[in-house]
């Protein structure tokens, strides 16, 4: 425990850590008794990494993301974000969060949806305009500034929500199955764009998914999780190059990593239910 406290000020290697979880656990009190959503999660995510969390539903991958975001509070263990507690990190606007649905406000235009966090932070109008333009360009939504969310397709809405998460320039991006509701072709396209965006901005990304190809294609590291209680069963370092065209998914290297992820998922899966 002492380690985590020291890490923020200690060696240069530790300063590289964005998220550090030690023996992290979370138990929900429900009407049917306590449910252990997370147990004994030990994980360090370093600056500039693209980490995917994969596992069957109920394995706690979303819960872990929500703990990082201070949307849930852990009941055991320690977690620090940039050396701060999750609450301090949230107050410091250390991360952008992309939800499963776009969650755009229908009464705001796309540009004012993207500008919402900037308004809350209290940036000047000029600064807001400048950042809205930059992030809208980044997600290829220029020209749709004055549209309302309901006038856009699902894929464009999700891109707008990514732009909103990027707008205030947090170094950490938390994405909770952002493309889960989209069709295969749109999803491929957005995956490609997300990789390009990650290389351009050099952000740290935590990405929750239940698609093996998506996890392998995007990540530098894949965290395989299993349910009841939610825990980490395998952490796989990707050997794929940073430059990844879509057809890399047919390469033997890609398939080998995918096979290992699948094995990890199978091992962690209980067949009792």
């Amino acid at each position: 425990m002492l380690m985590t406290v020291n890490q923020a000020t200690a060696t240069s290697v530790d300063q590289n850590a964005v998220v550090e979880a030690r023996k992290l656990g979370l138990t929900f009190q429900t009407n049917d008794g306590p449910v252990r959503a997370l147990a004994d999660v030990d994980l360090t995510i370093n600056k500039g990494e693209f980490v995917s969390f994969i596992g069957p539903s109920g394995c706690g991958k979303t819960t872990f993301l929500r703990v990082i975001a201070d949307l849930e509070q852990p009941t055991e263990g320690k977690i620090s974000i940039n050396g701060m507690t999750p609450e301090q990190a949230r107050e410091a606007r250390a991360y952008g969060y992309v939800f499963q649905a776009a969650a755009l406000f229908p009464w705001r235009t796309i540009e004012s949806n993207v500008g919402l966090p900037l308004e809350i932070i209290g940036l000047s109008k000029a600064e807001q305009q400048e950042r809205i333009k930059r992030t809208m360009d980044l997600v290829n939504l220029s020209g749709f500034e004055k549209k309302y969310p309901w006038q856009l397709s699902g894929g464009m809405q999700q891109r707008a929500s990514i732009a909103r998460a990027l707008a205030f320039d947090a170094d950490l991006l938390l994405m909770d199955e952002p493309f889960g509701a989209l069709d295969e072709i749109v999803r491929d396209h957005l995956n490609e764009q997300l990789l390009r965006l990650w290389r351009q901005t050099n952000k740290t990304i935590c990405f929750v998914t239940h698609s093996i190809p998506e996890a392998v294609y995007l990540s530098t590291r894949i965290v395989v999780m299993s349910p009841r209680p939610g825990r980490v069963t395998d952490v796989i370092e990707s050997t794929l190059p940073t430059e990844r065209p879509l057809d890399i998914r047919e390469s033997p290297e890609f398939l080998a990593i995918a096979a290992r992820v699948r094995d990890g998922l199978r091992a962690g899966h209980s067949y009792e239910d």
Binding site: A69, D70, L71, R90, E91, A92, R93, Y95, G96, Y97, F99, Q100, A101, A103, F105, P106, W107, L116, P117, E119, I120, I121, Y148, W150, F168
Partner: protein
């Protein structure tokens, strides 16, 4: 064109014409100025010819125009023919009236089936169809009350009510000023505003939410008939006591709707605001109040009619000698039912305008809501 095919309305109208022709005269012998047989034939012709013509295969618009002229021409002749002969109509009179009404029905049906391309024509149709509908309520009311000689006390014809409105404009205006521009508007604004403010307060302070809502519930159950005389004792005979009744009536719908509206924003949206470390007021103004707007407008619309009812009823319990409720209660005592109906007409008009204005503001404000933009979620 599908619009000009044989219809049961036109067919039945022809049958009614035939029966009417077989049972003439259309007025009893006591009629002082009986309708000539030429006049009767003209009425029958005005109904029968368009009915037959509407069977022909020409365009919907032409068919509707012919039906419109026939139906309203016949109705006009029937109503002007009864002048001076009130209460002498026989069965054929009502058969012809029914036949003319069937033609108007057919006309509206044809008009509703038209799918115009230009927006102006579409707007015109959207206004014309309910106008024909409303006009026929008045036509039948007028013809039946005068044709059958319904006692004036029971139900005066609309023409008498209109004449009364025209002759009593200054009185009606003074009543509207007293009841609507003082009691209703003041009570509505204060009642809605305080309901809204208390809802925000209850949202901010949990113990108020638990304590205030049940009490608010009880206030809403207070019988207005019981409260109004108490308010007169408290606030005097002038409009202030009526405004107090309106405040009591409008407060609760606003409170309940705003509380429900504040809970309407989704979990994901609230989590989103939390990730921005947004404070209570920022979340309130940027997320929860916009999401609550449809609920709040619902309350504003409900209250627009409640306020009018409350102010009029409250005036039954002591008032200076002006006001819509006062006028209704005194004129009914003097058997001047046309004046009572005139007040009812003015109240209905004022209520509709009030409601319409609120609904227009709602459409402009909650343009984003699926119920307004009429489409995808």
């Amino acid at each position: 064109m599908m619009n000009s095919k044989p219809s049961w309305q036109a067919g039945l109208a022809l049958v009614l014409c035939a029966v009417a022709m077989a049972t003439v005269p259309i007025l009893t012998a006591e009629a002082t100025a009986p309708m000539s047989s030429g006049m009767t034939s003209l009425v029958v012709g005005l109904i029968a010819l368009p009915a037959v013509a509407s069977f022909a295969m020409f365009s919907g618009l032409a068919s509707a125009a012919v039906l419109f002229v026939g139906a309203h021409g016949a109705a006009w002749l029937l109503i002007s023919g009864i002048a001076g002969n009130e209460g002498t109509a026989r069965m054929p009179y009502f058969l012809l009236l029914a036949a003319a009404w069937l033609l108007a029905w057919r006309c509206v049906a044809v008009l509703s089936a038209i799918r115009p391309v230009s927006t102006q024509v579409r707007t015109l149709l959207r206004l014309l169809i309910p106008a024909i509908f409303g006009a026929w309520i008045l036509i039948i009311w007028e013809a039946v009350t005068r044709g059958a000689g319904v006692p004036f006390i029971l139900l005066p014809p609309p023409s008498a009510i209109a004449a009364r409105i025209g002759n009593s404009l200054p009185i009606l205006l003074a009543d509207v000023r007293q009841t609507i521009f003082k009691a209703v508007l003041f009570g509505y604004i204060v009642g809605c505003a305080s309901g809204f403010a208390v809802a925000i307060l209850a949202d901010r302070v949990p113990f108020l939410r638990k304590g205030l809502l049940p009490i608010g519930n009880m206030v809403s159950a207070l019988p207005i008939i019981g409260v109004a005389p108490i308010m007169v004792i408290w606030f005097g005979f002038e409009w202030q006591s009526k405004a107090a009744v309106v405040i009591i009536m409008t407060f609760f719908p606003m409170l309940v709707n705003t509380v429900a509206g504040l809970a309407a924003s989704g979990h994901m949206e609230r989590d989103l605001m939390r990730t921005y470390a947004s404070n209570y007021w920022q979340t309130l103004f940027k997320l929860r109040l916009p999401a609550a707007a449809p609920f709040i407008f619902n309350a504003l619309k409900i209250n627009s009619t409640l306020a009018l009812i409350g102010a009029i009823v409250a005036e039954f319990f002591g008032t200076p000698i002006v006001g819509m409720g006062f006028r209704i209660s005194t004129e009914i005592g003097r058997m001047n039912v046309d004046m009572v109906w005139a007040e009812i007409a003015v109240a209905a008009l004022a209520g509709s305008v009030f409601y319409g204005v609120v609904a227009l503001i709602e459409r402009a404000t909650t343009f984003w809501h699926p119920s307004v933009r009429g489409g995808r979620a």
